[in-house]
Amino acid sequence: MIKFLIKGVIRDSTRSKFPIAIVAIGVFFTIFLSAFIGGVLQDAVEVNARFTTGHVKVSTLAFAENSTQAPLDLALLGMDSIKSGLQNEYPKMMWVPRVSFGGLLDVPDENGETKGQGPCTGMAADLLNTENGELERMNINKTIVEGRAPEKRGEALVSEKFAQKMKLKPGDVVTYFGSTMYGSMCFQNFTICGTISFGQQMLDKGGLIIDISDAQQMLDMEDGSTELLGYFEGGQYLDDEAMKIAQEFNARSTDSTDEFSSVMIPLKKQNQLEGLLNTSESMSEIMVGIFVLAMSIVLWNVGLLGGLRRYKEFGVRLALGEAKGKIYRSLLVEATVIGVVGSVFGVILGLAAAIPLQIYGMDVSEMVPSSNMMMPSVYRAAVTPSTVFMGFIPGIIAMVLGQALAGYGIYKRDTARLFKELEV
């Protein structure tokens, strides 16, 4: 019987092609959009993790409260002992210090006179020590436009945009002007070893990347850093773990009456990433919900029209001795078949669109307005097994639901009434 029904579905193109096309389109969008939006959000979280938040971040309590201003005077001192303590306790994590600072970058001419000047956003990391993976984490070697990463103290990377504006090239010298963590003036010369373009609006404006030891000396924060970032092995943010570690650490180290006591904050609690993470997780569900609803309505109507066309057939089947409940169920079987076929097409199309977007990405650095939020400038999709699985749900549910609604009239009505209305 099922074989017989399927034959009918296949041969009657108005019964199959249109609904299959609708299901395929809906599933395509579900898969593609959830992979795309999920991917972008995931990347956004990752970019934040790599550059500013870590998977967990340790700073002073006061710094954490004013983190948007990056106040140097609230830096974490005695950083080395905190770091080795954490390293002992969580040996599977990597702990790296960072210093973020601001100031002016001055470009002198041959005579030492100012040729040009601009504000700079400085970031210092442990770049000379290659074991901690900071170069890879910040993707420095791949994003260098010209030159190379710092190999010794006194070298700096400047952002490509700044370099172009100031006509700088590797080998040139720039002077940093700013203030130490105690508020006194400081300046320091750096030799440019390379120019860099992260693809991050925030870092690419006037970025200065130097080694942490230079920053500590220049800013008068021996054994200090503004932040100590912790990363999980494997680079994947693990929310439960992060929350647990932070709780343990804070129970021991945080003293709410001492603004210089240290506090650990997991990624999720920084930069409003919680919303981003939650959205990313629920993206598939949201997409599925929207498309189930939209497609069901369309398919309901398609089912109604299809039902009208088939009244004669239903009448004959009633007369041949098929119970109306069985006819109704056979409609649902047909719908399931159509839903599966449409979903397979939709999944194939969705993956065909999403996988290239995952591999090659879409460069949107020109389109996205500059913002303080760290967003990836190359949008990528993220295809996961659950994306594929999710794709099947709306197609099949929508088709069966649409058909169930459309066929409900058949189920509800009296056989005699039905038989007459079917104009047999």
Partner: protein, 233 residues
């Protein structure tokens, strides 16, 4: 001969507006196994309504209709469907073949509702097509058939499960004279060979010629129950 259809004091009303329209009034009728009978009367006299009740597609308002010993008013949807499936074949004025299926599949469809193994189905379908002389058209789609051929496929579909009762509602209305005679001859033959009870609804003289019993209906009432000794053809 055994009585397989027994109708007693049957009345059928249809709700119309606030009142009711009486389509059949106080009908008393029996049909025995192997009869070749017709309900005859002008349009609107209640022929189709009575056939539908006999076919357990509808139920009486008052009185009883017993089909194969079962009072159809007491049957659930499912039981009524089973009764139709097992004992009743229908033939319609407009053939009502399923357009997406071949001739063979249209006939086979009637058997799919019963759990009959495939090779047995095949045998039964081919035999039914042989009776109506259409084995050579078994792979054709209904759209490629003439009216006469279509009605013969419909007969094969109705007869393939060997029902005890075959109900034919104005089967000749869409056929020319030659085809009308042809299908009637086929049905006479089936009636003789398989002992199937045939009940027609008709106002066509060509059909009436073949009937051995004519039940005259008028305005929902039984006007005359006439037995014909020798069929006129």
């Amino acid at each position: 001969m055994e009585t397989i259809i027994s109708i007693k004091n049957l009345t059928k009303e249809f709700p119309v507006g606030d009142g009711a329209f009486v389509a059949l009034k106080n009908i008393n009728l029996d049909f025995k196994k192997g009869e070749f009978a017709g309900l005859v009367g002008p349009s609107g006299s209640g022929k189709t309504t009575l056939l539908n009740i006999i076919g357990s597609l509808d139920v009486p308002t008052n009185g009883t209709a017993e089909i194969m010993g079962k009072d159809i008013a007491g049957l659930s949807h499912k039981e009524a469907a089973q009764l139709r499936n097992k004992y009743v074949g229908f033939i319609f004025q407009e053939f009502h073949l399923l357009p997406v299926y071949t001739v063979y599949e249209n006939v086979e469809f009637a058997l799919l509702l019963q759990d009959i193994p495939k090779d047995e189905r095949h045998k039964a379908v081919m035999e039914a097509l042989e009776w109506v002389g259409l084995t050579h058209k078994k792979d054709a789609k209904p759209s490629k058939l003439s009216g006469g051929e279509s009605q013969r496929v419909a007969i094969a579909r109705a007869i393939v499960k060997r029902p005890a009762i075959l109900l034919a509602d104005e089967p000749s209305a869409n056929l020319d004279s030659a085809n009308a005679h042809n299908i009637m001859q086929v049905m006479v033959k089936l009636n003789e060979e398989l002992d199937t009870t045939f009940i027609f609804s008709t106002h066509d003289e060509k059909v009436m010629q073949y009937l051995k019993r004519i039940v005259h209906l008028r305005d929902g009432g039984l006007e005359k129950d006439e037995w014909i000794k020798e069929a006129t053809v």
